[in-house]
């Protein structure tokens, strides 16, 4: 059976400035895979290329064996790929509920949408209390919950999380990582980008270390956690 996601030697950038230069990675069904790397290494660019906001100049991206490297983001979500972008990108003037409804924009059946809303409110009871508030009035933690819930509303096979922990209090960071594990237990494959390297690797099965648009290390989360190089460069130890 084909892997959930295969990225094969992609090259991409912005306006001719190369950012990703020959990157390959693989995510198997049911895994949590972490991409780590310093600021500006190209982690978000990689995510944008996978989800279809950006098209690679060369290389291939396969979702369950199907080439999606030329297909737009609005088509990829219909194929089961959900991307929660860096900085959350909620629709600030829409209510929490409207944001969640848009997360299921590709779902036609009203019953299914209502079921998923209930599921999200069960997972994040705070969102239920806030459902008629506009997204811009939520606290940082609540916004992050809303972004995760919105990304889950399409019932994706693969969810990509970009710096979920950014700007959150330490106590909330822990909670966010617990949520990721919970999502994964429901059978959703997870690809996540993190600056909280230790925490990310603790929940991940495998990891890739990115440096200036290339993979410089990869291996099981355990191997990376034990690697002196990784510890020195990314965990300050």
């Amino acid at each position: 059976m084909a892997a959930m996601l295969e990225v094969k030697d992609i090259h991409c950038g912005y306006d001719g400035t190369p950012v990703i230069r020959g990157l390959s990675l693989e995510v198997n069904r049911g895994e949590i895979v972490a991409i780590i790397g310093a600021n500006g290494a190209g982690k978000s660019t990689t995510m944008r290329a996978i989800c279809g906001l950006l098209h690679p100049e060369r290389g291939q991206i396969l979702l369950e064996g199907e080439d999606i490297s030329r297909s737009p983001a609005s088509a990829n979500i219909r194929k089961g790929l959900s991307y929660i972008p860096e900085g959350r990108r909620l629709f600030p003037k829409l209510t929490v509920r409207e944001n969640l409804e848009l997360g299921a924009f590709t779902v036609v059946d009203r019953k299914v949408i209502d079921e998923r809303l209930e599921e999200m409110f069960a997972l994040f009871p705070r969102l239920k209390d806030r459902s008629t508030q506009t997204a811009e009035t939520l606290s940082g933690g609540e916004q992050q919950m809303c972004a995760i819930a919105r990304g889950l509303m399409s019932a994706p096979k693969l969810i990509m999380l970009d710096e979920l922990s950014l700007g959150l209090m330490p106590s909330l960071v822990e909670k966010v990582f617990e949520t990721v594990v919970l999502i994964n237990r429901k059978g959703i494959t997870v690809l996540l980008v993190e600056q909280m390297v230790q925490e990310a690797l603790e929940i991940a099965n495998r990891g890739y270390v990115l440096q200036t648009g290339r993979v410089v290390h990869s291996g099981s989360a355990r191997e990376l956690l034990d690697s002196d190089e990784v510890r020195k460069a990314y965990m300050g130890m």
């Binding site: 906001l53 983001a73 979500i77 972008p85 848009l102």
Partner: protein, 286 residues
């Protein structure tokens, strides 16, 4: 006293029509940050469509607005596909100049084909009918157009605020990339919004032929007023456009009557300048 009521009603009725004309412009700006300089000429085309349908097929403006609305919906969508899409992402001036060019083409086409003459439909169902409200005489065709404008504005507002499509349009306006991530095909949203913008003036224009003459220059004044309404109400806000349009309609009718007809537009722009100096984003600015 009767004068006062008359002037008040005239201002209100005109204001409601301005509101629908401006709503189309405002929505396009709100979603795409594009000003359609051909908006007034779209109105003019809508009037001609309704006029010729009435002239040749004897269909009353009470019905032909459906045709002029549909025609302008298609024209709006086509304008997006053929002109706007190719001018976006270049310079900020590109779509502005492109739609300005389109307005010239439309105006001169009508001048050339239909002559500069004023044309007024005769024998329409509502022609010459009036009703008296507390001593003020209201023209029924104008009243019908204004009532229609109000209903359409309410529908538009409801669609934007209460339906999934409306949320998708708002989402595209706020963050088009995040909207794409939700599966919203933003290209189609732009097409639709331009279509709706066209339909707003197509319908208004279609109904207006029952009381207003059509000629190639008829759109110019309306587009000027629509720009003021949109800026005054706040770009992208429909309630803002409604409130601003009524203010403009009232300022126009009161200064026109109590001061002098020649200064009424000067007064309109003076009010606009005053409000913009105090609230640069307009009354309901995002």
């Amino acid at each position: 006293m009767n004068h006062f009521l008359q002037v008040l009603f005239d201002g209100l009725l005109n204001g409601l029509v301005y509101a629908l004309v401006a709503a189309g412009l405002s929505m396009i700006w709100g979603v795409m940050d594009v000003i359609n300089f051909a908006h007034g000429e779209f109105l003019m085309v809508g009037m001609y469509v309704s006029y010729w349908i009435g002239f040749f097929l004897d269909v009353d403006p009470l019905f032909s607005w459906i045709a002029s609305g549909a025609f302008l919906f298609i024209m709006g969508a086509a304008t997006y596909r053929l002109i706007i899409r190719n001018s976006l992402g270049k310079s900020a001036m590109a779509p502005l100049l492109a739609t300005f060019g389109l307005s010239m083409v439309l105006k001169n086409f009508c001048m050339n084909r239909f002559t500069p003459n004023f044309r007024l439909l005769s024998g329409t169902v509502l022609e010459g009918k009036t009703i008296s409200v507390g001593g003020a005489i209201l023209s029924v065709p104008q009243l019908a157009t204004a009532a229609f404008a109000l209903v359409l504005l309410a529908c538009l507002y409801w669609m934007l605020k209460r339906t999934r499509l409306g949320w998708a349009i708002q989402a595209t306006a706020m963050d088009s990339e995040a909207a794409e991530l939700m599966g919203i095909r933003t290209e189609n949203i732009y097409l639709l919004v331009f279509g709706i913008g066209g339909a707003c003036v197509g319908i208004t224009g279609g109904l207006m032929t029952s009381y207003l003459a059509v000629y190639p220059e008829v759109g110019s004044l309306f587009s000027l007023i629509a720009f003021v309404v949109v800026a005054l109400g706040g770009f992208g806000s429909i309630p803002g456009a409604l409130l601003a349009a009524i203010i403009i309609g009232l300022v126009e009718s009161f200064t026109g009557f109590y001061v002098a007809a020649v200064v009424k537009y000067a007064a309109v722009f003076a009010v606009y300048l005053a409000v913009i100096l105090i609230r640069p984003k307009g009354l309901f600015g995002w």
